[in-house]
């Protein structure tokens, strides 16, 4: 039995019919087509499926699509404003923060949320905020450097 839901993804309204057991991550990827959210573990461990749910980062592999009815979802595709990358994204590029890049969408969203809520984070705050986003390639250092640089630029 399919259930009608409506969610707003990256500012667009999406009326959809979903099965009660359909996972939000799968719906975002396969029905909405926002492929930035990635499948890494499907059990809440890795953070590649991170999206902003009414502004808060959540693991979309752990949420059912029906729970998103009436809510607002932002994926990495929704971070640029008017097609312009955020300053944080630019700094991730200039710091060569990512290698394979598979963790990047989740980390962009997690770091975006952190800087929005805490414009003046310590390096440890950043480490804490991103502790749920696994990266196997970089050793995290260039990611942390870019987030700290973004915070610094926002202050100056």
């Amino acid at each position: 039995m399919k259930l009608p839901i409506t969610m707003i993804v990256n500012g667009e309204t999406w009326p959809l019919d979903v099965e009660p057991n359909e996972v939000l991550l799968d719906v975002i990827r396969n029905r909405v087509g926002a492929k930035g959210a990635k499948i890494g573990c499907e059990r809440g461990d890795c953070g590649t499926c991170t999206v902003l749910f009414d502004g808060r980062s959540i693991r979309s592999c752990l949420m059912l699509a029906v729970e998103a009815d009436g809510h607002e979802i932002i994926t990495v595709e929704g971070i640029p404003e008017n097609g312009v990358l955020s300053n944080l994204q630019d700094l991730f590029i200039s710091h060569n923060s990512f290698q394979c890049g598979f963790c990047a969408p989740g980390i962009v969203l997690g770091a975006h949320e952190l800087l929005r809520d805490n414009p003046n984070p310590s390096r440890h705050d950043v480490q804490h905020a991103l502790a749920g986003n696994l990266c196997r390639c970089t050793g995290y250092e260039p990611i942390l450097d870019a987030v700290m640089a973004a915070a610094e630029e926002a202050r100056s």
Partner: protein
């Protein structure tokens, strides 16, 4: 072309480099932070896409008596159920000991026995549970030392019949799939002359790669009989080749197979060669006309892709009182798992190099590749060197301490240098090992004791060396095509993979340097075997060095064509022409400046209105023609198996809580001799990322096995890889540059090397701090605390 004239060999030092040795940002950076980068699972394949689910063996060792697929086939939505009987084909990269699906026997828990293809994932999963398999359980064997004995159950009775490369030596009637013996001098004489001989054993368990993107392959066997595969792979061409060979009985040929490899979400060796992808290919042929997706779960990722092999090593080293190493004997039993088609070459590589980066007159290495009933071992960043280096570099530290010598001074005294004779008789290449040692020692204030304000905490320092050579067949080759566009920008095709290491950026920098076109105007696509030229594989840390030479050759060929057409039209001698800022210039006519975009497609107009030239293209290839795997099987003398070694050193300042064993890295430094860092920032990325991955194997990661051979912790909840909270306080990356004479601009590979010294450096720091020696990995807090309590009890 291949490069016959080395354009930068003589003038690298004097010539100002514009793009090489600089750190332009990655050319794939924008795609990756914007979500534009596409990985295999991100492509849509339409409504006729089917999904596959694997039926897995619950036993580590058993005979398959009967498989009944009827109940699964009856499930609505199931399109096809296949078993080993449908694909009785062996395959393998270096030894054909593996099967698409198990035939009469299963050899590890999780081995693929059958597969269900259905219209959606849920149906496939449910139906797979309905496939009935009857087994006759056999005794399994997990310990490689026991498995190598005659009493052990025999896992591959057909070992003698498996085709394999000529440099493997299987022992028929045993579980020893390959035995690499290396002999130099006479170790017995060396031990007899030694003032101190130390012997001990070291144990290294298995590890998982944990690339964050799971393995996934989508395969379409279309109605015209062409097989196209979208594969998360490090090895598009090798996949095509291995699959074409294995599935030839179905009528597939190389020409009929196309492998497309978009961005890959981490590899670390786990996506090299062919593992689960061959199932995808086989399943596609069973459902012609429908694309079929096979995506591994995180759990399958742990237990049914390559794992890093386990190792039990016995090391015996003899030294003089002055610290001179006289003899090294290293006997390694490798837990290679159920199939060794790739893993046996890991063992082979270790068997040639397990005396480490030292000058040793007498060497005896035995590397035994032993079948066990655990998942197939295979390539993992470090390719055997991380494993043997734990024991070797632990052992060298202990010897120095016994001699009353400073461990760094001991290493410095014995460090291998250019021209020293290697274990297999060849000469060592140019090497900056001494510089690496000195710089790391300085970076961690070696020789100065550090303390903690907390009375429960002690601080120790640890040091370790590393080296590694690419392990490649002697004919592993690379090639490249290059073309100009109307605006003077360039497209390059290669079939090396961007695994995250920054390969595409580095290739662009090489082209940029030769053709004076900035990297941001150079587009390099990920591989497609129908369009991109051949590359053996993206493994062995060889693509910067090997494919870099092919790319350089393609750029040089294009440059020569440019000069040739300018000469024809303008009359300048080709030798007087050079490129600068995307234009042709002339040494004898400073006023001459011809922008590339004016003619690289359109050609040059002559006085009569006709044109000369045309679209400029270049091609290049590279094969290390000086290598050979032919050597005496009893001694390994006589061949030239390795192209060169990359060397380095690392050190750590480690704080340990005596009560809990918890370790905290205050500072760690790693120096690697990159030959020439084409992009220093990307080399630093390899140092930091690789070091953290290496530290994870020693501090956190710990596979737990049930007595039945089942992996107990196949999740990130229970198999801990580092998070952003688990990194050292300070990492000091150090790049040393002693040029590799045949490398592009002097470069050699560094990708794998950076994890190799991590484990022994920690064990050495633990001894420095606490006086206890841990000889098995991982060196977890738990193990440190237990050893301390034992010592105190």
């Amino acid at each position: 072309m291949t490069i016959t004239r080395r354009p930068f060999e003589t003038d690298t030092d004097e010539r100002e480099l514009t793009f090489v040795g600089k750190s332009p940002t990655r050319i794939d950076g924008l795609e990756k932070v914007s979500g534009a980068a596409r990985y295999v699972d991100d492509f849509d394949f339409g409504p006729d896409l089917l999904f596959a689910e694997i039926v897995e063996a619950p036993h580590a060792h058993a005979l398959i008596k009967r498989i009944d697929t009827a109940r699964a086939e009856a499930v609505p939505g199931v399109v096809k159920v296949v078993t080993g009987a449908d694909f009785p084909f062996g395959f393998g990269l270096y030894m054909k000991d593996r099967f698409v699906f198990a035939q009469d026997r299963v050899r590890f828990v999780g081995e693929q026995v059958a597969a269900v293809v259905a219209r959606d994932e849920g149906i496939a999963k449910r139906a797979a549970k309905l496939v009935e398999v009857e087994y006759e359980v056999l005794p399994p064997v997990f310990d490689p030392v026991f498995a190598a004995t005659e009493e052990a159950p025999l896992l591959h009775p057909d070992l003698a019949d498996y085709p394999h490369v000529p440099w493997f030596f299987p022992h028929e009637g045993t579980n020893i799939a390959h035995w690499r013996k290396t002999r130099k001098g006479d170790v017995e004489e060396g031990f007899a002359e030694a003032d101190l001989v130390l012997e001990d054993t070291y144990e290294v368990p298995r590890y998982a790669h944990c690339a964050i993107e799971p393995h996934v392959v989508v395969s379409l066997y279309d109605r015209a009989g062409r097989l196209t595969m979208w594969s998360a792979s490090q090895s598009p061409y090798t996949q095509r080749h291995v699959i074409a060979e294995a599935l030839a009985p179905l009528g597939l040929t190389h020409q009929q197979i196309r492998v497309i490899t978009p961005y890959v979400g981490g590899g670390f060796g786990g996506k090299a060669g062919v593992s689960m992808e061959i199932m995808g290919a086989a399943l596609a042929t069973a459902v012609q006309g429908h694309p079929v997706k096979l995506r591994f779960t995180r759990e399958q990722e742990f237990y049914n892709t390559y794992q890093r092999q386990g190792l039990k090593a016995r090391i015996k080293v003899g030294v003089k009182n002055d610290g001179t190493i006289l003899a090294v004997e290293h006997t390694m039993h490798w837990d290679a798992g159920a199939y060794v088609e790739y893993g046996a070459n890991v063992v082979n590589a270790a068997g040639l190099s397990a005396s480490g980066p030292y000058r040793v007159p007498n060497i005896k290495i035995d590397a035994l590749c032993v079948y066990t009933n655990l998942p197939p071992g295979g390539p993992y960043r470090g390719f055997g060197y991380s494993e043997f280096n734990f024991g070797l570099e632990s052992h060298m530290d202990r010897i120095a301490r016994r001699l009353g010598m400073d461990p760094v001074a001991f290493r410095r005294k014995n460090a291998i240098v250019e021209g020293d004779t290697l274990a297999y008789g060849e000469k060592m290449n140019p090497s900056g090992l001494l510089e690496c040692i000195d710089k790391v020692a300085a970076a961690i204030d070696w020789g100065t004791k550090e303390t903690s304000d907390d009375p429960h905490k002690v601080v120790g320092k640890g040091f370790a060396l590393m080296w590694k050579a690419p392990a490649m067949p002697p004919n592993a080759s690379s090639s490249s095509f290059l073309k100009f566009n109307e605006d003077g920008s360039i497209n390059v095709t290669v079939s090396g993979m961007e695994l995250g290491q920054g390969y595409l950026t580095v290739m662009a920098q090489i082209v940029a340097e030769v053709l004076s076109v900035p990297p941001e105007k150079i587009r390099i696509e990920t591989p497609d075997t129908d369009r991109n030229p051949y590359e053996w594989q993206t493994v062995a840390s060889h693509v910067t060095w090997g494919c870099g030479q092919a790319v350089e050759a393609a750029a040089v060929e294009a440059r020569e064509k440019i000069f040739e057409v300018v000469h024809r039209v303008h009359g300048y001698e080709e030798d007087s022409l050079f490129l600068r800022n995307e234009a042709v210039r002339c040494a004898t006519d400073p006023d001459f400046e011809l922008p590339l975009r004016d003619f690289v497609i359109a050609g040059l107009e002559t006085d009569d209105g006709s044109y000369r030239g045309g679209p400029i293209v270049g091609s290049g290839m590279f094969m290390p023609e000086f290598t050979s795997a032919k050597s005496d099987p009893e001694t390994s003398q006589g061949g030239h198996p390795n192209v060169h070694y990359t060397v380095g050193a690392a050190g750590v300042v480690l704080e340990i809580d005596r009560q809990t064993g918890k370790m905290h890295i205050r500072k760690t430094a790693l120096a690697v001799d990159a030959g020439k860092a084409i992009n220093p920032d990307l080399v630093i990325g390899q140092i930091v990322g690789g070091l953290v991955q290496g530290l994870a194997t020693v501090l956190y990661e710990d596979m737990r096995w049930g007595e039945d051979g089942r992996l107990l912790n196949p999740t990130f909840t229970d198999y801990k890889i580092p998070t952003s909270l688990d990194i050292p306080d300070e990492i000091i990356p150090i790049i040393v540059e002693v040029p590799q004479p045949d490398g592009p601009f002097g470069a050699r590979g560094v990708g794998e090397h950076t994890m190799i010294p991590a484990a022994p450096m920690i064990a050495n720091a633990v001894e420095d701090a606490l006086g206890i020696r841990i000889t098995s990995m991982p060196v977890t807090a738990e193990k440190v605390a237990l050893s301390l309590w034992e010592g105190e009890a």
